[in-house]
């Protein structure tokens, strides 16, 4: 039982990261029906921005500024930086192709993804970068029965949950949120209703990318490392989570992310860590066969 709980905790921790990144895929897909393949790499850039702030302000395992200010700066750098990057990518790589063949923005998305990875690999570091997290957050390990988990992972799950609830309120309870939902339903009709569609799309990219940036920061605080290829597999897993949840559906992406993390950790814990990814993607295939719209998605016929 203790072992089961420990693996559930492991799963929730990884799943929270998947969920935060999956939200970005699903937000952008919901509005534009675009698979933003560069999203995993925006997560990576967010992690490097956080690592960069830490590298500037932490010397010899001691922070040059109070820890609260340091974390604040890391949040601003990774969320605003990643958000701005997302907006820039939309402006440069997707907007000119908005009325083009649907394949065209998919190809530019892959191009942007490769560009970001290579830029970080060549410009920053081909090897994993270490982060002195000891100087930034508490290294306390919590013991809950047979489960041991560090403060950084508790923070990861808590922040992810708060952000997910916040996003849900933003989309379903604010005026801007209803403009987003209107754009998602019918872009042309939304324009007729006086909604500035370009602005909605820009804000959507900013929010989606800022969430990925925050995921990058939380990753750095938990794993104390960043590497240029970190967004690739995690991005694909998060995309899988979004599809399992029903792509375009925000609550679906959250549930899908947590579910995927749990699935991975329980398969690794009870069957084999070697077959983790095999089973995860087998799960994706099964979901697509049985329920192509995902667990929470509307049937495709409704959208058409």
């Amino acid at each position: 039982m203790g072992y089961f709980l420990a693996q559930v905790v492991n799963g929730l921790e990884v799943g929270s990261l998947y969920a935060l990144v999956a939200l970005g895929y699903t937000l952008i897909y919901g509005i534009l029906e675009l698979l933003n393949f560069a999203h995993g790499d925006i997560f990576m850039v967010g992690a490097f921005l956080a690592a960069g702030v830490a590298a500037l302000l932490v010397h010899n395992e001691a922070a040059a500024v109070p820890a609260g200010l340091l974390i604040g700066l890391m949040i601003v750098a990774s969320m605003a930086g990643a958000g701005g990057l997302g907006v820039a990518i939309e402006r440069v790589a997707y907007r000119p192709l908005r009325n083009a063949n649907r394949l065209a923005p998919l190809i530019t998305a892959i191009g942007v993804s490769l560009f970001l990875e290579s830029a970080v690999q060549v410009g920053i570091s081909p090897a994993p970068v270490g982060v002195q997290t000891h100087a930034i957050i508490s290294q306390t390990v919590f013991h809950l029965g047979s489960v041991d988990t560090p403060f950084s992972k508790v923070l990861l799950v808590a922040v992810a949950l708060v952000l997910m609830v916040g996003l849900d309120l933003f989309v379903f309870r604010t005026q801007f949120g209803s403009a987003m939902r209107a754009t998602a339903q019918d872009r042309e009709a939304a324009t007729f209703m006086g909604i500035d569609v370009d602005r909605v799309i820009m804000v959507t990219f900013f929010v989606a990318s800022a969430l990925a940036g925050m995921a990058g920061l939380l990753y750095v605080l938990s794993y104390a490392t960043a590497q240029f290829f970190m967004g690739y597999l995690l991005g694909i897993k998060a995309f899988t989570a979004a599809v399992i949840g029903g792509i375009g559906n925000i609550r679906g992406a959250m549930v899908g992310g947590l579910l995927l993390g749990l699935l991975e950790s329980l398969i690794g814990g009870y069957i084999s860590t070697q077959f983790q990814d095999t089973f995860v993607f087998l799960g994706l295939i099964l979901v697509l066969l049985v329920r192509p719209q995902g667990l929470f998605g509307q049937p495709l016929t409704d959208r058409a």
Binding site: T133, A224, Q227, S265
Partner: protein, 400 residues
């Protein structure tokens, strides 16, 4: 000076010496023992994708030749060094070696460094007349010396020596239950297999798992380690996955040196793992097929490290890769074997060098070295390091 005459002469000389076993050196006057010309070659991947291991080794060999010449060379003749950059390619190696095979004053090779290059070119060296001997500083594949040739020697330990040595070390340290990890590469899976076999044969319960290349989340595996109740974790890895792995062990309350012990392999005697894991690696052990002179306290090793730094810069050691010690050692061995060989009419025969390599003992920066009949160095040569403070120190030499 006609070159053909030289070759014919050398061929005669070598035939004669091979026939009489090379025992009787003609100790006439002082000049009679002075060879006309002595050359050796350094071979390895000095440029290209493996330059990180080759470049430091070449620096070490150049230093060894210089030191040997400053001490008088071979009875007054200075040794000249040929640099053969095989770029980790056996075909390039054969082209380069052809030059040495045809020139009887080329008496041996320090290298090649890669097992694949040795295996791809050793037949040509063996079939040369006379055969051209090699002393490798890093080729660890068992076949390098198991294929029955007389030319191949190495100062580093074999792949099949490391696994049992690692297993025995853990048992000697009191291991009761070992969690064995590999990193899904040919090198690490093979080594982890051998260590696990040794442990199983000695009734130590084991459980096996693998890291994927570039993996950073080890939560699931670490929970398994705790469930298994391991008192030792063995991780055969080239290095990059170790820092996040040990950091997360600590995050799940497995503290190395306290409630768990850790043994890593070749790439894991890298002190940067201690910084990257923010001290979680402190107290961990790692084994390597050669010793890092900088981790030793003997005066020979210390003065070599100082010499290396003054020759190539104070940060040269940290950039030299894992074989700058064994490369110097291999060059010392080859040069002493040449020096011990008889000089006949100003010539030294490669057959005599091979005999000397097989029978002699050589004093090196790592102590006395002797080869067995296969050409493997006697006494294992597996070194145990421990992470202490911010560096990896050599604890001792072990064998299986």
């Amino acid at each position: 000076m006609g070159k053909p005459r030289l070759i014919v002469f050398a061929a005669f000389a070598s035939l004669g010496l091979a026939a009489c076993g090379g025992g009787a050196g003609n100790n006439g006057g002082g000049t009679a023992n002075k060879p006309d010309k002595v050359q050796i070659a350094a071979e390895g991947p000095f440029t290209g994708d493996q330059a990180s291991i080759g470049a430091g080794a070449l620096q070490a060999i150049q230093l060894a030749v210089k030191d040997f010449n400053n001490q008088g060379g071979v009875n007054g003749t200075k040794v000249s060094l040929l640099v053969w950059d095989d770029q980790h390619n056996a075909q390039t190696a054969q082209t380069l070696q052809a030059q040495g095979i045809s020139d009887p004053t080329v008496l041996g090779i320090v290298g090649p460094m890669n097992s694949g290059v040795v295996l791809g070119s050793v037949q040509g060296l063996q079939n040369a007349s006379p055969p051209l001997p090699l002393v490798s500083e890093s080729a660890s594949n068992v076949k390098v010396t198991d294929s029955g040739n007389s030319v191949a020697h190495r100062v580093n330990a074999r792949d099949d020596a490391q696994g049992p040595a690692d297993g025995k070390f853990m048992i000697d340290q009191g291991a009761k239950k070992v969690f064995v990890m590999d990193a899904k590469s040919d090198y690490s899976t093979g080594l982890a297999d051998q260590t696990q076999q040794y442990l199983t044969a000695h009734n130590i319960p084991t459980q096996r798992d693998s890291a994927k290349a570039g993996q950073t989340d080890f939560g699931t595996i670490i929970t398994k380690i705790k469930q298994f109740g391991a008192d030792w974790v063995y991780f055969a890895d080239e290095g990059p996955e170790t820092a996040p792995f040990v950091s997360q062990m600590k995050q799940q309350n497995l503290n190395i040196g306290q409630n768990i012990q850790f043994l890593g392999t070749d790439g894991e005697e890298d002190p940067s793992i201690i910084t990257k894991s923010q001290g979680a690696y402190d107290g961990a052990y790692a084994t390597n097929i050669t010793a890092d002179p900088a981790g030793l306290t003997s005066s020979a090793a210390t003065s070599y490290v100082n010499e290396f730094k003054s020759a190539y810069g104070s940060d040269a050691v940290s950039k030299a890769g894992p074989f700058y010690g064994s490369a110097y050692e291999a060059a010392q061995v080859l040069l002493q074997a040449i020096k011990n060989s008889p000089v006949k009419n100003g010539k030294i025969s490669r057959n005599d060098v091979i005999n000397q390599l097989g029978s002699g003992s050589f004093s090196t920066i790592f102590g006395t070295v002797k080869f067995n009949s296969k050409g493997d160095v006697q006494g294992g040569g597996i070194y145990v390091y421990q992470a202490k403070g911010s560096s990896m120190v050599v604890l001792k030499q072990v064998s299986g």
